[in-house]
Amino acid sequence: MFTIINWIALFIALVTSVGLLLQRDWRWGIGLLAIQYLSLFWLVQTHWPVSMAAAKMVTGWMACVVLGMAKLNTDLTEETVASWPQGRLFRLFTAGIIMAATFALSLRASSWLGLSLPIAWGSLLLVGMGLLQLGISAEPFRVVLGLLTVLAGFEILYAGVESSTLVAALLSAVNLGLALTGAYFLNMRREEKE
């Protein structure tokens, strides 16, 4: 039963991370990120107590709220600062490559780290998609979404090997800090427009 839910969580991670890459509306972006933290919660709770995994999810949602509030207050039309081609087809193609590469990598990683395949793949997939997001966009809001995705992927993998409360607390602080940084970037742009 739990194995099936692990695969469902992986599917959610896949859909949300690809969605984050394809969508251009910030509301969708934040919504998808919030759902992504749901899959993070499930994949982390296989190794950690539910309460600690839930803390990660709540931190993620808080980060989404911070970013959402900041975006609402800025009320700016999004500018695309691209460092790579921006077509949806291109993004889908690169996302496909990342999916294939992380699947191949996760087959080895799961046996090496002693994790089940959906957890290893889910983690590496989020890291890969986050890195792709960082690579194709130079817009600060997108960069912060990319960094949060990379960290979410890393946290799934790291939960399998480390269960320190201090690390969990510091990682939560880093996630929130990144969201606040994103909010600060957005606020800077508003001041500039004014």
């Binding site: 090997v161 201090l166 690390v167 970037f185 500039e192």
Partner: protein, 465 residues
């Protein structure tokens, strides 16, 4: 009271309180007195020893437990604490002269405290998380209010954040290596992850593109502080790695890897600095070169390398403070920091322009200036291993030297009949003059800081012996 409370939590609390103050001079005064007291305490107060004054007894414990882990500042760390907080005084004392005290001091003090916590946390691999928190705090410091975040700032955030997972994950692998040192595959994987983590953290070639961008787009003084603080603490953190893991310290390829990386940084940054037209970018490349030199000192190995590593510390701090101060003054009063816009400024801003050129020359290893003794030591150390490496290092130094000459010629290109004036404020003149004298005196009498070079290596139990 515990040592971590004194040197980590108290500065954090004060940093928070200073944010509520508005007067730049008051903020600077409070911060300078406080950091001076911390420096003095690091120098004089014994840790884990009962101190009795009359009927009153007092003990500063070395450890502080937090969420099941420990922050530990032992007596061996005291000289390092004195050095970090002592240098912070210099940065904070100068800040009001260019009206950056309010943001720099409160956030700078918090960054310093977090980075000290990074050096104190046990297991020490968790330092990556604390460094990341310091990075996040430094974002408001580096971004000018009302301006769109530049490429350099965004890249700084990305690269420093990406370092954290590599370091944390390598920690898990390193525990496996310690348990099973014969597993060469595991050793290789751990080494690759550590290498990548430190490449991002230290902005090693080719991950240093954000440094010149950041020095171009942000306030030179705050960037100077960040580019002094982060590489310094990261290098200490790296030394902690080398000190802690015998297999890493004794790896036969370590020296070669460090030499190659250091050389790439010194040569590429030196050559690129020679062709820059923006003064901020030149400072950025000089910082990259300094990191390269620090890595080269570590490639020498043993206590000799470690002593030269610490020899660089004070000249680098002084040169960067003078350079960043001079650059900030010029930035406020000229349309841009592009060479074409700065022609003939030597006549109207003599202190700032001379300070900038002197600091540039000092970091290029010019004889009679503070940077020369450590540069001479590293040239000598590298020459005993390979002449070709020294030739390449000298090419890098020449690049930075050439950039100083170009800048000097630009400042001197005043129209005929232009009068000599000084537009700097009194405080700026005094601070820059102190900087010139210090740069010259440390070049002429390097033995004055000799006790520091001999004492600091003992922080590292294995490397320093």
């Amino acid at each position: 009271m515990s040592a971590p409370f004194l040197w980590i939590f108290l500065p954090l609390i004060l940093a928070g309180l200073l944010m509520f103050l508005h007067n730049q001079k008051v903020i600077a005064l409070i911060a300078c007195i406080f950091t001076f007291v911390l420096t003095l305490a690091a120098w004089l107060l014994p840790i884990d020893t009962v101190l009795t004054i009359g009927t009153w007894s007092f003990k500063l414990t070395s450890s502080y437990e937090i969420l099941g882990r420990h922050l530990v500042l032992a007596s061996a760390d005291q000289s390092l604490l004195a050095l970090i907080y002592g240098s912070a005084i210099v940065w904070f004392a100068v800040a009001p002269a260019i009206k950056t005290a309010r943001r720099l001091i409160s956030l700078g003090l918090a960054i310093t405290a977090l980075l000290v916590a990074a050096l104190a946390v046990e297991p020490f691999l968790y330092a990556a998380l604390l460094i990341e928190m310091a990075v996040l705090i430094s974002i408001p410091l580096l971004s000018a209010p009302g301006q769109r975040p530049g490429k350099g700032l965004v890249r700084f955030l990305i690269f420093q954040t990406l370092a954290m997972p590599f370091i944390l994950f390598s920690g898990w692998l390193l525990a496996g290596v310690e348990a099973n040192p014969g597993d060469l595959g595991l050793v290789q994987q751990a080494a690759i992850l550590i290498g990548l983590g430190f490449s991002f953290l230290l902005a090693v070639f080719p991950f240093y593109s954000w440094i010149p961008l950041l020095t171009e787009e942000s306030s030179p003084y705050t960037v100077g502080f960040i580019l002094w603080m982060f590489p310094t603490v990261t290098l200490f953190f790296g030394l902690g790695f080398l000190d802690h893991y015998t297999w890493l310290r004794d790896a036969p390829t370590l020296g070669r890897v460090l030499t190659t990386v250091g050389l790439l940084m010194v040569v590429s940054s030196g050559l690129l600095a020679a062709f820059q037209r923006h003064l901020g970018r030149i400072m950025g490349y000089a910082v990259i070169m300094e990191t390269g030199f620090s890595i080269l000192t570590l490639s020498l190995g043993g206590t000799v390398g470690l002593k030269i590593f610490f020899m660089f510390f004070i000249p680098r701090t002084l040169s960067l403070v003078v350079w960043a101060l001079a650059l900030s003054i010029l930035r406020k009063h000229s349309p841009s920091l592009i060479l074409n816009d700065l022609k003939g400024l030597g006549r109207t801003w003599p202190y700032a322009t001379s300070g900038l050129v002197l600091a540039n020359l000092a970091l290029a290893g010019m004889p009679l200036l503070a940077g020369f003794p450590p540069h001479q030591a590293i040239w000598e150390g590298l020459a005993s291993k390979s002449i070709s490496v020294v030739i390449w290092v000298l090419i890098g130094n020449l690049g930075l030297f050439f950039s100083a000459i170009r800048v000097m010629l630009t400042f001197a290109a005043a129209p005929e009949g232009a009068n000599w004036e000084s537009h700097e404020t009194g405080a700026q003149r005094i601070l820059l003059s102190i900087g010139f004298v210090a740069l010259l005196l440390l070049g002429l009498f390097p033995q004055w800081v000799l006790p520091l070079w001999t004492k600091l290596p003992t922080i590292f139990t294995h490397l320093g012996q």
